[in-house]
């Protein structure tokens, strides 16, 4: 498909666990991302959801080059970013940027807003004409809904929502095609989240951006994403469009996740039948054999321990699902 802007194949990232002070020996590995295949199409928003420890933050870092994968490829504009280095990597980076989660730590407190948003131009001299650099920065501030006259202010003079806008402006500076949003609204108040979400949607429409939107909040992801990938312990267990994932989930983990999300409607009390999972998430350093979810799954059989289910369409799941017993079960209750 020619309008796939980003594709990952079998992306793997392990963090070695070492012991020893002077000479470190490897005693194990945290398998943070363990074989992820993703596709992002032009103009769409792909949501990646999962709980803590599922590897989504690591995935975000891999996509923008903050970490190098151990295996696998990340193809953007025909180039495998994972294999690039030096100047080539620097150029490739211009096309895929990130908005970080914490607006209070993602901006250098000792730089003015103008410096922060203008830094991409300093690093990539050819991206904006020197004469027009300040103008470019002002325009960016305006696009994200900030007052361009505040260009000389410092981050601590802004609120959390405004700081997040500054981060978005910075991400837009190099005119990327793809923006990876790593929990961009989780640290914000509820009423401010709406402002930033609306902004991101508006920018997507106006500038033709493609987003990978990583979050743990399923309601937010539903609102903004066209397609969704569900992650568990380093692997994607189900992908599909909005209707498929939310109304017709087939993987037990997705179903459990959705049923656990509280819906703000008190009339549903007593009518919801939440799937309560037993136990804790297994350690990513020592995931279960076969299907990783089997230790908490009510459908688990022997085959689940022996054979790892691949992410593919199945008899009872028209969209890809990594479960031997995938079956549609609508868990969202409505009044």
């Amino acid at each position: 498909m020619s309008d796939v802007v980003l594709e990952t194949r079998n992306l793997v990232k392990h963090f070695p666990i070492t012991r020893g002070i002077v000479l470190k020996t490897k005693v194990g590995a945290v398998r943070a991302v363990d074989g992820v295949d993703l596709q992002l199409r032009r103009g769409e928003t792909l949501g990646v959801v999962g709980e803590s420890g599922c590897g989504k933050s690591t995935l975000a870092k891999l996509l923008v080059g903050l970490e190098r994968p151990n295996l696998g490829s990340i193809e953007v504009r025909g180039q495998d970013m994972a294999r690039l280095g030096g100047q080539a990597l620097r150029r490739a980076r211009r096309n895929i940027q990130m908005v970080l989660q914490d607006p209070y730590t993602s901006l250098n407190p000792r730089m003015t807003v103008g410096d922060i948003v203008g830094e991409p131009f300093e690093i990539h001299r050819d991206a904006a004409p020197r004469a027009g650099r300040e103008r470019a920065v002002r325009e960016l501030l305006d696009i994200v809904g900030l007052n361009p006259d505040h260009i000389n202010r410092y981050p601590h003079q802004f609120s959390g929502g405004q700081r997040q806008r500054i981060g978005i402006a910075r991400a837009l500076a190099l005119k990327p095609e793809i923006i990876v949003c790593d929990e961009p609204v989780s640290a914000l108040d509820v009423s401010i989240q709406a402002q930033v979400i609306n902004l991101l949607e508006r920018l997507q429409n106006e500038l033709g951006l493609s987003y990978i939107f990583i979050a743990h909040d399923l309601s937010v992801v539903r609102h903004i994403a066209d397609r969704v990938a569900v992650m568990y312990l380093g692997k994607i267990v189900e992908t599909g469009n909005d209707e498929e994932i939310y109304e017709q989930p087939t993987h037990p983990y997705t179903q459990a996740l959705l049923s656990a999300v509280p819906v703000p409607d008190p009339r549903l009390r007593g009518r919801r039948d939440p799937i309560v999972l037993e136990g804790d998430v297994p350690s990513p350093a020592d995931p279960p054999s076969g299907c990783r979810f089997r230790t908490r799954c009510w459908k688990a059989q022997d085959v689940c321990a022996e054979q790892e289910p691949h992410l593919e369409p199945r008899r009872r799941s028209p969209h890809p699902s990594a479960c031997h017993f995938a079956e549609v079960r609508n868990v969202i209750r409505r009044y």
């Binding site: 609120s159 509820v190 009423s191 609102h223 999300v261 509280p262 703000p264 008190p266």
Partner: protein, 346 residues
């Protein structure tokens, strides 16, 4: 299960307790923070009541004063810079704010307990969980070490920590986030309090764990007929468990109502705007309504109704002092807005 009655009878925590008075009655509470940048009015006349067996949710965003209110009730406010400048906090008729610290300390944990958002920092990392639990019994009940340990294991069982007997000697960092939260709940409930204040208990947890913890809280509350104050900003969680809701904004309770009324027909513009701005799992493709502007700086709260700069219903009267009084809408319902009728659509 420890015999609740004999423990109660043993402790004469405060003189003047009236078993017929409301369990907790907060009346016109005012709390200030005196900072270098001015006086921040964190709580400006918060009032609510809690009865036994009831769950009251205090809903609001950061800076609205909900956590400060809880701290003032518990008496754990950081002073300086925080000062309680008015109001009463009556526990069964006795004003805790006027009670000397020595007696107040007895009320804490024994009668009113609190759990926090971050269990890892609320638990002491250098002592085992069993030790910390046991300490409560040893100190407040004078039990022997052996008996304290037995009760600790029992408590861990009640909060559904698997294999409690062997886990009682583990340290906080050896538990997962959800398990630590259960330990914190166990600590709060150890001395059979009548009131439990939960300050954002599940905000830092995954959604599947959140469901487990909220379920546990509901069950324990029911068993013990405790009053539960749930402080949160999550409107989904509140819909699931609360009986009544107090919505706070800029240090005031702007609306209080039974839970069905708040979600069905909110009477205050802020509540309404909040409900319309949250993305919902069961809806797709809805334009999220935005509340323009920002919550006010607590050192500089607008005159009149604090919400007026952001309110679509605001008129001149809203911008002038005095702030709107609490308009009674129904026997258990009020809202601080001059235009409740309009908001409700009557």
């Amino acid at each position: 299960m420890t015999d609740v009655t004999d423990i109660r009878a043993e402790i004469d925590v405060l003189p003047g307790l009236d078993p017929r008075a409301p369990l907790l009655d907060v009346d016109d509470l005012h709390v200030e923070f005196r900072t270098r940048d001015g006086v921040a009015k964190a709580v400006n006349g918060a009032s609510f009541r809690l009865a036994a067996g009831e769950t009251l949710a205090i809903l609001g965003e950061s800076g609205c004063g909900k956590s400060v209110t809880a701290q003032a009730i518990m008496g754990i406010l950081d002073t300086p810079p925080g000062y309680v400048t008015g109001g009463q906090v009556r526990y069964r008729g006795v004003d805790l704010l006027k009670t000397p610290e020595k007696q107040r300390r007895k009320v804490r944990a024994n009668r009113i307990a609190m759990i926090f958002q971050d269990a890892l920092s609320a638990l002491n990392p250098v002592y085992s969980v069993g030790f910390q639990l046991g300490e409560l019994f040893r100190k407040h009940r004078g039990t022997s070490r052996h008996e304290a340990k037995r009760r600790s294991v029992e408590l861990l069982d009640q909060v559904k920590i698997p294999d409690a007997r062997s886990r009682v000697d583990d340290y906080p960092h050896q538990f997962s986030g959800g398990m630590r939260q259960r330990v914190m709940i166990a600590m709060a409930l150890a001395l059979d309090p009548e009131v439990l204040i939960a300050d954002e208990p599940t905000t830092a947890l995954d959604v599947t764990v959140q469901a487990q913890i909220m379920g546990l809280l509901a069950e324990l509350q029911h068993q013990r007929n405790m009053g539960l104050i749930l402080i949160t900003h999550d409107m989904g969680v509140v819909a699931d468990v609360a009986d009544r809701i107090s919505v706070m904004y800029a240090g005031k309770v702007v609306e209080e109502a039974p839970v069905y009324d708040i979600y069905g027909r909110p009477a205050h513009p802020y509540t309404k705007a909040l409900l319309e701005s949250i993305p919902r799992l069961d809806m797709k493709g809805r334009q999220l309504n935005v509340i323009r502007g920002l919550p006010p700086a607590l050192t500089d709260i607008p005159a009149g109704c604090a919400f007026n700069p952001r309110c679509g219903y605001a008129r001149d009267v809203c911008r002038q002092d005095p702030p709107p009084p609490a308009y009674q809408i129904a026997p258990h319902r009020f809202a601080r807005c001059h235009f409740v009728r309009e908001v409700l659509g009557v």
